[in-house]
Amino acid sequence: MATAASVPAPRGIIRRPTATTGWLSWFTTIDHKKIGLLYGFSAFALFIIGGLEALLIRAQLAKPDNTLLNADQYNQIFTMHGLTMIFLFVMPMSAAFFNYMIPLMIGARDVAFPRLNAFSYWVFLLGGLFLYSSWFLGGAPNGGWFGYPPNSTTDPTIGMTFYALGLIITGLASSAGAINLAVTVVNMRAPGMTLFRMPVFVWMGLVVQFLLVFALPIITVALFEMLFDRRWGTHFFDPTAGGRPLLWQNLFWLFAHPEVYILILPAFGIISEILPVFSRKPLFGYQFVVFSGIAIGFIGFGVWAHHMFAVGLGPVANTAFGITTAIIAVPTGIKIFNWMGTMYGGDIHFDTPMLMAVGAVAMFVIGGLSGVTHAVVPSDYQQTDTYYVVAHFHYVLFGGAVFGLFGGVFYWWPKIFARQLDERWGKVQFWIMLIGFNLTFGPMHILGLGGMIRREYTYPASLGLTFWNQVSTVGAYLIALSTLVFVVNAVKTQRTAKGLANEDPWDARTLEWTTSCPPPVYNFEEIPVVHSIDEFWHRKYAEDKEGRLIRVPAGASDHAAADGHGGAIHLPTPSFWPLIAAVGLPTIAYGVLYSWWLVGAGALVTVIGFMGWAMEPPVAE
């Protein structure tokens, strides 16, 4: 059935890279699996860096009146911690899973636009490096990840200009990636893979891509306005000329609240894959989980002002946004109950992915409940800008997203690397991480209600905040230890020989496990035909008359051979052009800071990159 794409006649004025192995191939690859790995490794490296920044923050707060960091350094470090974890770790780590898994899960050979995919990755990486280069060029961003003007627009150091430019660049990467993945899901599914047979992870992926497509342009405009204010003296957020700093807050949160769901829905998708596999039951209420994910996507655009209750919008706006905020807890709650229903009565196997997923659900519930307290406006007045808020969003974003992503790492590691992470070390990591996490962020509820203000670089001993701050610092170092355990585990695992006793180690349910581990470059020798939700499960099991599961004899569902017939499949050829086009963008950004010549040079490089890209056929001979 499936054979090759029609091959345009080869034409070429430039020599085209063709190698798919070797170090150079990583720069020219357009294979969604390799790009997924690049995303994953880059994001993990940045997770370590963002984590080190967190450790510095906790070290500074370990005792009152500490002088380890001064106020200026502290501002830069907490700002970069937030930016790194949000834009350079959770988003690209989610992109890593989407890239690697979505084509495999929907039965496609690659994403819709393989070269655009490479472009997205390089723009993200270069944007991140651009942001980090600010440390060496006059100081990192220091106005918080939310960057409120007029503080951010009048700050004399260069940091917040890097912030505006860097986030515009990474936003561009995410937009391009989002369009690509959304089209992939809408248009590239295998025959029979109807929308309501898609794995929930793919569904959540689709919702996230739509959120990105509609939320990112808003922050892009806000960032441009900030850039113009800072660099060319315009008055968008300048109250002395009639500008309103509140405009920034509205634009920012109109992006940044959907962003919260952009960060958490990928983890929700992973959890929805892991729980059924390790409970050996189908997901309870599949349609409810999917529709609540879609509902979250829509309502997520209508709650932004709950970040601004204390700025004086008036009782009508505050009430309206308090209500929408309470409403969005409903679809989220539906998901939680469905996950519990999935586990209820299941044959539960507590392997590491399952521990991580259950941990994520439990921690997210705590964060979700403290979130509901923010929906109550008078209560929120007390909590605004205190550590209570810090506790809340770390419970949802670390407790929910990071635990969920680690669950995905453990779950799909055998698929990607053909080796299994050590289960004992995995469990050790999970328990240290869970305890460390709760020690770090649990006490912040108490600190916040006790009056500790966010973003202050130190506190006097007389406030009585010392004890819980010390507990929190100990917890942070435990999280670091758990991450170290993971790194050791990963390195040890990768030193063992490749190969799995069983290529389906978890007895999984979805299409990606029908391929070999790791999947061949063309994913599927023959495009699979899908007949149901949990297609792979139904290929493996049938029910006898009493409703008991019986194994379908092998052969009816054999795996595609790792090599052999794949040679006839024409895959898109690697290309330099996405990388070249991407290099132009940070060049333009440096130009904005330093010289118009550099802007011109960067623009030229980008245009040449796109031209070369447009001229070369997707598949070279």
Partner: protein, 204 residues
């Protein structure tokens, strides 16, 4: 567009049937709607908020901008003519209309450059007041979009000339056309909101 999806006989349709490139272009334009939406919102929010002059009524030459707006809208017509020619496989005429579209676009951008220059000489710079700030950034963003469109049109002409377009030349023309029409439609909104809806000079 390489489409590797197979179609077996009796299973459900799992593709929209539209080319992926077209879907991607529509999604991109949807995203662009939000971009211009936020910019136009900013402009509207700051109407009449300038604390010093010059004010819009003192500076706009509605007749001049109407003509350049007409030029831009006319370019949508030539774009359509180009697509029609491409669909009839009359590629010489297709290129001719593409060049015409690009020239009309350049006339518009040139007109904008002239307009910006004359406003600047009349005392309205990017930093004079909120009107200058919001006006130049909004219309400037639009001008950059038109410029990118011109680059794409000229690239199409060049690639068609050199025989480097796929056999179905109408498809890339249609894609660039979608973008071009979008940029035109945005201008209708901007022209209405910025130039046509009268804005009183603030008292005092």
């Amino acid at each position: 567009m390489a489409d590797t999806t197979a179609h077996a006989a009796p299973v459900e349709h799992t593709s929209t049937g539209l080319p992926s490139t077209k879907l991607a272009m529509w999604l991109f334009l949807a995203s662009e709607c939000l971009l211009f939406g936020a910019l136009i919102t900013t402009y509207v929010l700051y109407r009449g908020a300038s604390t010093t002059g010059p004010y819009p009524s003192e500076i706009f030459d509605i007749r001049y901008t109407s003509v350049s707006s007409f030029v831009l809208l006319a370019s949508s017509l030539t774009m359509v003519l180009s697509l029609t020619a491409a669909e009839k496989r009359d590629f010489a005429r297709m290129r001719l209309w593409l060049v015409a579209t690009a020239l009309l676009g350049m006339t518009f951008v040139g007109g904008q450059v002239y307009e910006f220059t004359s406003f600047y000489h009349e005392g309205l710079s990017l930093t004079t007041n909120l009107f200058g700030t919001t006006f130049y950034v909004l219309t400037g963003f639009h001008g950059v979009h038109v410029t990118v469109g011109i680059l794409m049109l000229l690239s199409l002409v060049g690639m068609s000339w050199a025989g480097r377009l796929p056999d179905d030349q109408a498809f890339p023309v249609e894609m660039v056309g979608l973008y071009w029409h979008f940029v035109d439609i945005v201008w209708i909104v901007i022209f209405t909101v910025v130039y046509l809806i009268p804005q009183a000079k603030p008292a005092g």
